[in-house]
């Protein structure tokens, strides 16, 4: 399977307007170690959810997921908690960009967000723009990732992407 086709199980379904304070409370913002942020994912609102996420699982949400603050820890916490992809009806713009920049696949699909249930096994095609419920074979349309975002995701995020660029140059270039 290519890196743009992912399979996973829906670990949970969340509602509309899940804000960054719900995803990652402000009080933990002074944690700058990305892996450690996962310990506080959904801490105030859905503390039980963290334990349910198995590596590679998907989360499904309604519209405007990640609205609010620009805090990148919200994206990092989702990623390092082991989430393989986020599927939502829509994302708030900074959260969407943070996800691509940290190498967390994000899928915009109002159809899938409305239909998928907890426990569904799903395949997403990021480039083709589809979400398939494997048990029934139902296919939901998704927004295909634009080439620039795909390039960043393929590199594993913005840091590895730029690292390659600067690696060849040496200091003082």
């Amino acid at each position: 399977m290519s890196q743009f086709k992912l399979r996973g199980r829906v670990a949970a379904r969340l509602g509309d307007n899940i804000d960054t304070d719900l995803i990652y409370p402000g009080r933990f913002l002074n944690i700058t170690d990305r892996e450690k942020t996962a310990e506080h994912l959904f801490e105030l609102a859905y503390p039980e959810l963290r334990a349910r996420i198995r590596p590679g699982d998907f989360l499904v949400a309604g519209k405007n997921f990640g609205c609010g603050s620009s805090r990148e820890q919200a994206t990092a916490a989702v990623k390092y908690a082991g989430v393989g992809a986020l599927i939502a009806a829509s994302f708030a713009r900074i959260f969407f960009r943070n996800s691509i920049n940290l190498g967390l696949p994000v899928v915009v699909s109002p159809e899938a967000a409305g239909a998928l249930a907890e426990g569904d096994e799903v395949e997403v095609d990021l480039i083709g723009g589809s979400v398939t419920r494997l048990e029934t074979g139902e296919v939901f349309r998704a927004a295909p990732l634009d080439p620039r975002a795909a390039e960043l995701l393929a590199a594993g995020g913005l840091v590895p992407f730029l690292k390659k660029k600067y690696a060849g140059r040496g200091w003082g270039a």
Binding site: N17, D19, D21, G26, L44, A45, N64, S70, R71, L162
Partner: protein, 429 residues
């Protein structure tokens, strides 16, 4: 067909004649702002391995979220930022006691000028649309890319134009107007869009009040939000920069620009009383009369939305000669050192302290629930800040109501959500 202001600025910054919504452009960055999360940016920047920041003159770093440091961890963050700033030759660094809230500091020191592309690692960077800049929030890793490269890709946003007609009724402020608009359009009502505010009511507003509109537009998802570049703004900038900034057609949308939608709001008719955003979302807006009488434990005047001199002035006016209600505590956090100093000079601080308010050091204060004025479970707060999400100001079982500084001050005196008129009678401030 002409261009909107967002399109014009992005066209200029990406070296194109013309751009249209949904096109992807790579724009050069005029100003890059970070606060404490500069430490996160620094880490990503060092990982990237670029030898130096692209232009130390275009980077501004301001400590504001946890000032002075409240913990050893924060102290270490502040220290790491200081060392980095020094090693990279970044001159525009506002340390503890030298600045205040990042958005206020950029504004009052004349860092932002019309036509600029400004990015900040803070979602309320939209505030700087009040200065005619294309200003938007980005994440820390993305900022590390900007520090290395000096440019960033943007999708050209479609523009929503909001024309505000009429005159502000007594006790209705910029905060009430924008809360009303957010209530009407919803938390994602301007997602990915540029917003242009204009109309007679906007043109009579002070620069400080225009900043409230641009700041809170973030809470309906806006990418950027502009208020007009006019004499009021140019005079403000002249005072802050010490030079004349000539007006230019580059700072205004073309008369034949294409808008996704034009919305009219008549403030005299539609916003007849103060507006309150009720727990737990900013678009849960009700007129004050519906929540009047709700007892409050804490009242907060401050933040990048409403911690400016005019906000402290109205709060001081309302509490002068009165006492904060015994069951309520009033916290006042001037948005910057400059504002605090002016507020002392003008007697606002004295009036507030005599009424029983606590003045906290300039900075974000309790707004993001990490520093001072944290709420216990079951407590209710009325606040002039900009977010009332679950747990934003402390316990997940606390409640935050967002309102204008006048309503916050009146409620502090009444011990419950109150109309300023109840406190000061018919006199209009």
């Amino acid at each position: 067909m002409g261009m909107t202001l967002a399109e014009k600025i992005l066209a200029r910054a990406s070296g194109r004649e013309k751009v249209a919504p949904d096109e992807i452009v790579v724009a050069s960055i005029d100003l890059a702002m970070s606060h404490e999360n500069a430490d996160l940016v620094r880490k990503s920047f060092l990982e990237i391995g670029a030898p130096r920041v692209w232009d130390p003159e275009r980077i501004v770093i301001i400590l504001d979220h946890r000032v002075p440091a409240e913990s050893e961890r924060t102290a270490a963050t502040h220290k790491a930022i200081r060392e980095f700033v020094h090693s990279q030759g970044i001159r525009h660094f506002y340390d503890v006691g030298r600045g205040g809230i990042c958005h206020q500091v950029l504004a009052e020191n004349g860092h932002v000028l019309p036509g600029m592309v400004v990015v900040g690692t803070d979602s309320h960077t939209t505030t700087h649309g009040a200065f005619g800049a294309f200003a938007t929030g980005i994440g820390a890793t993305e900022m590390a890319g900007v520090w290395a490269e000096g440019h960033l890709w943007f999708k050209v946003p479609a523009t929503l134009r909001i024309l505000v007609q009429g005159e502000f009724p007594p006790w209705v402020s910029a905060k009430d107007l924008i809360l009303h608009i957010i209530g009407r359009l919803g938390a994602d009502g301007a997602d990915y869009r540029a917003v242009e505010f204009d109309g007679p009511a906007v043109r009579t507003m002070t620069v400080a009040s225009r900043m409230v509109l641009a700041n809170l537009s973030m809470e309906m998802g806006a990418k950027v939000a502009f208020t007009p570049v006019d004499d009021t703004l140019l005079e403000y900038l002249e005072a802050r920069t010490g030079r004349t900034i000539p007006d230019s057609p580059d700072f205004a949308p073309d008369p034949d620009a294409a808008y996704e939608r034009v919305i009219e709001v008549n403030v005299s008719r539609e916003v007849t009383e103060p507006q309150i955003a009720c727990p737990h979302s900013v678009d849960n807006v009700r007129p004050l009369s519906e929540v009047r009488g709700t007892p409050v434990d804490q009242a907060v005047v401050g933040s990048c939305t409403n911690g400016r001199l005019e906000d402290l002035a109205i709060a001081a006016e309302i509490v002068r000669g009165r006492r904060v209600h015994p069951r309520t505590r009033l916290l006042v956090i001037p948005a910057s050192q400059q504002i605090l100093l002016e507020a002392i000079r003008l007697g606002y601080v004295q009036a507030l302290i005599e009424a029983g308010a606590m003045i906290n050091p300039p900075g974000c204060g309790p707004c993001v629930g990490v520093h001072q004025g944290i709420l216990a479970a079951g407590e209710v707060c009325i606040s002039s800040t900009n977010r009332n999400f679950v747990g934003r100001m402390g316990s997940k079982d606390s409640m935050v109501y967002l309102a204008s500084p006048a309503v916050v001050a009146a409620s502090a005196i009444a011990g419950e959500i109150a109309h300023p008129e109840e406190i000061v009678g018919e006199e209009v401030a």
